[in-house]
């Protein structure tokens, strides 16, 4: 009798302790997901507070929407370039930092700094550096790489690449730290054996470190892809919310925002685009996961 009461009591305590988390996640994730799916099948007028069911109309409209196609193309390009660069740089830096060279703790502290910077500060710093009168232009003119100043912030050939550079700069340290955490566990006799065989640092990197880190690389790629496909802050701040100039910095997330809160007032349609973004992320994640599983087999 007493034991049963104790057990019941523990049940109650268990539920009470998870309750705050369940309630918050239930409202702001579970309910929100259902809501966004609901919205994607409706035409919403926020001012009159009306929700009109339109079936698949939003999804059909998307296929004819050149702006949306541009945003999807921008986002995929952005993701491909940034994920490749950030993974490679993170891997190289982690390798260098986990070799036993002098001052690596100091280097590691310095290299971690970008992770601490808010997207707002970071974007404004880069915009300052790349503005037409800014330090980057000055430097490139000084070393004769450029003959005249480039307006990196307005020239559509350069706007997305500048955002790529700032994103890579700010995300590499995070992935570097993940790699370092894995390299700590690496058996040191792998390197020793290679050293006896006369392998140099570059050979050790490609023959030992890279294969050893393959599982964590999948994780890094996946996190990187999921993160970059949702690119919003930097593009928003860079273009002051417009995705301009000429939609060159327009990402899917930014277009979702523009449709939902801009003059179009098309929340239902914006929700559709958000659902598409989620589906793209889900699909790519599943593909990466599948590739990883196949590799593990052999």
């Amino acid at each position: 009798m007493f034991r049963l009461k104790r057990r019941k009591q523990e049940w109650l305590q268990g539920y009470l302790f998870v309750a705050p988390s369940i309630i918050i996640l239930g409202i702001f994730i579970c309910l929100a997901v259902l809501f966004v799916i609901y919205l994607s099948f409706h035409r919403v007028n926020l001012f009159q507070n009306t929700y009109e069911f339109v079936g698949l109309e939003n999804f059909i409209r998307l296929r004819l929407d050149h702006t949306a196609m541009r945003a999807i193309r921008n986002t995929l390009t952005f993701s491909a370039v940034v994920v490749t660069a950030q993974t490679m740089l993170a891997l190289i830096l982690a390798y260098v930092l986990s070799s036993n060279i002098r001052g690596r703790k100091l280097f590691r502290s310095v290299l971690f700094l970008p992770t601490l910077t808010s997207s707002a500060a970071l974007t404004l710093i880069f915009m300052f550096m790349f503005n037409i009168q800014g330090p980057v232009n000055n430097m490139l003119l000084d070393v004769d790489i450029l003959s005249e100043r480039i307006n990196f912030l307005q020239n559509t050939r350069f706007t997305l690449p500048v955002i790529m550079v700032m994103n890579i700069w700010s995300t590499v340290p995070f992935y570097m730290t993940l790699y370092i955490a894995s390299l700590v566990d690496m058996p040191s006799n792998l390197y020793e054996a290679a050293s006896i065989d006369g392998a140099n640092v570059v050979q050790k990197f490609f023959r030992i470190t890279v294969p050893y880190l393959r599982p964590i690389t999948t994780f890094v790629l996946l996190t990187g892809i999921i993160g970059t496909l949702q690119m919003f802050d930097q593009a928003y701040i860079f273009s002051d919310g417009s995705g301009g100039p000429a939609n060159s910095t327009l990402t899917i997330a930014l277009l979702v925002y523009r449709y939902a809160f801009g003059p179009q007032n098309a929340m239902g349609y914006a929700a559709t685009l958000a659902v598409i973004l989620a589906l793209i992320i889900l699909t790519i994640s599943l593909i990466v996961n599948r590739i990883n599983k196949e590799e593990r087999v052999y």
């Binding site: 705050p20 929100a32 830096l93 590691r108 290299l111 700094l113 707002a120 000055n138 340290p173 979702v256």
Partner: protein, 277 residues
């Protein structure tokens, strides 16, 4: 004593590190330098980081009486502090429950959380905006703290901590007649200090640096957080007031840099959240 020979491999390693560090520091150095320079000098083709014309004028403007920056700074601080406190309590409670208490449906909840962690945040913006609107919470600090009041990654971290951590002390306290809630708050939670410190640092930084939620939910200038204030300030001057913007950016970054140097070890070691190890 033998002088260690420097191999060519080592030189490559050092070169990589020096180039990477230079690339990392370059933007920071320019931010700091520009924050002390008059605007005329910044846009005048200036090449050097230091100049005799350096002054505190930009900071004087940013922190001055007519400026909203001090207000925004305070707002961010309140939001981050309250948000972090709530997170630590709720995440720890949930982690504790999933690790130490047995009740029907516990595994279902665990796997449910595992699924929820996959939901991309950007997808939730529109529905959450409408939910906030319906709850009448737009333009309040609750709108930015409440949706982020728990963090699944740190629930898992706390769960892992309580699974690995010995239950001896808690059992002893139980024999002494201490109830579950007293045991949790007075014994388990204080013992979990390292894990709590790690999550506090990252959650605080998350709140401090957050941009999207304030941008979406806050409307009155006086309620802005520092990141939103910074962006608004810059865009109001069409991105031309570089000097003052950089001074403001410096002030934004400073608290996190201070926290970083104080809690350096948590940043560099506690960063393994994929559940392995």
């Amino acid at each position: 004593m033998r002088i260690k020979k420097i191999s060519p491999g080592r030189i490559i390693l050092y070169m990589v590190l020096i180039i990477a560090s230079a690339a990392t520091l370059y933007p920071f150095l320019w931010m700091i330098s520009a924050s002390f320079l008059p605007l005329a000098e910044i846009v005048g083709g200036n090449m050097s980081l230091v100049s005799p014309n350096m002054s505190l004028d930009n900071y004087r403007f940013v922190l001055g009486l007519t400026s909203l920056f001090p207000r925004w700074f305070l707002n961010s601080f309140i939001v981050a502090l309250v948000g972090t406190t709530i997170n630590v309590i709720f995440n720890s409670m949930a982690g504790y429950s999933l690790a130490r208490l047995t009740f029907p449906g516990r595994n279902k909840i665990y796997f449910g959380l595992l699924a929820l962690i996959m939901v991309p945040g950007q997808v939730l913006l529109i529905p959450n905006y409408l939910i906030m609107n319906a709850m009448g919470m737009l333009d309040t600090f609750a709108a930015i703290t409440l949706p982020a009041a728990v963090n699944i990654a740190y629930i898992f971290m706390m769960r892992q901590f309580f699974i690995n951590f010995s239950t001896d002390v808690e059992e002893a306290a139980s024999i002494d007649g201490l109830g579950r809630y007293a045991r949790f708050f007075r014994i388990s939670l204080p013992l979990a200090r390292p894990a709590i410190a790690t999550q506090s640092v990252f959650v605080f930084m998350g709140f401090w640096n957050e941009f999207v939620r304030p941008m979406l939910y806050l409307q009155t200038q006086e309620n802005f957080t520092i990141t939103l204030g910074l962006q608004t300030f810059s865009s109001r001057h069409a991105g031309t007031q570089w000097a003052q913007t950089m001074a403001a950016a410096c002030i934004t970054v400073l608290p996190i840099i201070i926290i970083y140097f104080v809690f350096n070890n948590f940043f560099l070691t506690g960063r393994r959240m994929d559940g392995e190890k």
